[in-house]
Amino acid sequence: MEKVKIFLCKGCEIAQKIDLEKLKKHFNSNAQVESIEILTTLCDGAAREHLAGVEGALLFGACDERTHGVIFRELAGSNPYQLVNLRERCAWVHDDQTEATAKAQRLLSMGLAELSTRPPDQAEWDLDLLHRVLVIGAGPAGLACVRALAEQGCDVTLIEKTNRLGGTLRRTRTVWPSGEDSEKLLHRLYNELQDELHVTVYQQTELVELTESLHGYRVKLSNDVEEEVGAIVVATGIREVGGNLFEFEYRWRDRGDFRGPLAFEVKEDVHPFLLETALWDAVMLRHEKPEERIVFFVPESVVLPEGFKEGAEKHNIEIIRGSIPGGVTGVTGVMSLRPERKLRVIVKMPRRGTGVRGVTGVTGWRGAVVKLGKLVGNLPQELAQALRIPMDKDGYLVQRRFRIRPRDVVHPGIFVVGGAHAPMPMEETINHAFVVAARIKAMFNAKSKRLPAAQIDEEACIGCGYCAAVCPYGAPILERTDTGHKARISPRFCTLCGLCIAGCPVFAIFDPIKSRKTIRAQIESWGNS
């Protein structure tokens, strides 16, 4: 093994607490050590000059990787190096000089062990991504994201499951809470989109296959188009289950007018977001029809959002706890429908408006009824699996690694925007889309560095599937081979957390930065010193 040159720093009170000369004497007699020097400080220009041209493995005894890491990386140049924190982990926390010196010696021996057992050539690798993006879903989030990306010069492919662009924007009347006309907003997004040159739009198209490739992902679409992209944006939005608020808004927008009393029938599993939107609609209606009865029927179990009651009261909107007594009866009029999408009657309009006076002794509700149900994510399960995005029970994509990368990144190169995360107001959706677009661009430009991934020794692997089950990032995949199942770890997803490494029953997984060998060597050198 290559011999190591040690440099110790005298600065930052290290020399006061640790007897560096003693350490020097100790390590001079170590067979692994070529030389050991004590410098006044390691983080200044003098040290850089002193170390210029030095070659071989270097061990620094100084300070914290996180505060001074960059300096030592520069200092080492292309040489392999290891930084041992003699400051925060020793000099600053121990008072007794003898003890501190002994501990420093231990720390340095452990650093030496780590340096000498570290596998070579396992530096971080560049994520050289193709500047092309696939956006799934042409709702407000998707469209806004496409627009922002296209403006920044990315090639964009937009795919939409249905035959029309617009998503939720097509189905709602106004944008909550700004009150902007949905149609106008859609046209704004859409027209701007049409002017952009780099956007390819496929309608009635879905993603059918996703594989990793060298510069991103290879995607196969249902219209047999195959392409390679550097990033994927999931903007699949939300869907109403057991309710028809969106349809109501759509009809309302379509007809432009509305008559008769209106009831909002709230379901037990209502999404609070829908309640707020519905109240907003009710208030708008109230402005148009000051005399009409508007009632929310809310089951006892539903907790109303803050300010809901007050808002309703202010606009003379009733809230009745319980379900509609006697159900809906005596509906005499039917709102006309467009034949489009063959939707059946959703909003029923009475000729004469009569209704419930109180909860007791009433036969039923005569008037229009809008149901407020659940809101769920719109991404098909298989697609979520293909994208390795975990979903919660309502079909929303779970934001992972929020501690490390807040906001939007699920996996490198895969982003989720808008309602697919959780229902959010339209404006927020659009802002979110812009943020994501900016992040994608930044990612392309940064040529981001990635840690090397855990590696599997195929010979040793017995295909037990533990790693695939335990990995929080879905990095390992079990593949069928001639010799049985074997696991493979995809480097793009692995964070090298080590969960699978320590648990693999046959020690088949290898950590390229801190291998078992390194840990063992560290423990041994700790034990010996």
Binding site: A469, R520, E524
Partner: protein, 250 residues
Amino acid sequence: MKILGFTCDWAGFALDYAGMIRQKYSADITFINLRCSARFDMVDGVQALANGADGIFFALCPLGDCHYESGNHHAVSRINHFKDLLQIAGLNPERIGFAHADTTDAVGLKNEIESFCSKVKEIGDLSSQVFDRPELVLRVAAMKRVVSSEPVRWTLSKELELVRKGNVFDEKLDAEAYAQLVRDLLRTEYHKGLILEQLAEPRNAVEVAQATGLSAHRVFELIVELERETRASFDRIEHERPLYVEVADG
């Protein structure tokens, strides 16, 4: 007193922070950084004991706050299994300790470290326990066999599946039942380890029983199992007693 610490990178922040605000703690403890605490393998724990650790301490993120989603849950269960193993081997499980620390919780972590170090000091040197040094070496060697044995690692890797499936019925009971299952397995494997340590040279069961302190009946039972697992084999008959020997690996 030698105490080895393992810290995840993130609790390591707290440790560095403790340095920054000069929170003094005992110099007996030296930390090794692992990226996530779940990287801890019992193999490393036994290695530490073999290298003279009187105590082993873990610093990890608060539960539910793991930077790798669920890493510290796995780590805690591994640490608990490791404590069980110490107990089985007749060592004081209090020698293993852990603390959850937020990245900024320097003072809290320092206090935990201090109280752990003084506790280990109270318990005393590992080799100062009732038995002598060679006995300790023997026990650690048997433990080493346990933690790298396939049945143990295999069962531990099934924890996810078994306990999660159990959740459908009754979470607590099942987790406890599983822990008991692991304890039983660890005990059996530990005894097998002790026996195998004696079988480097051909020996009969009675000799092994004397050397290990296990009952002759238990030794017989386990040798039969070891034979079935092809980890030990019948060698020859001497003085009308069958001799067994360990099967070399591979």
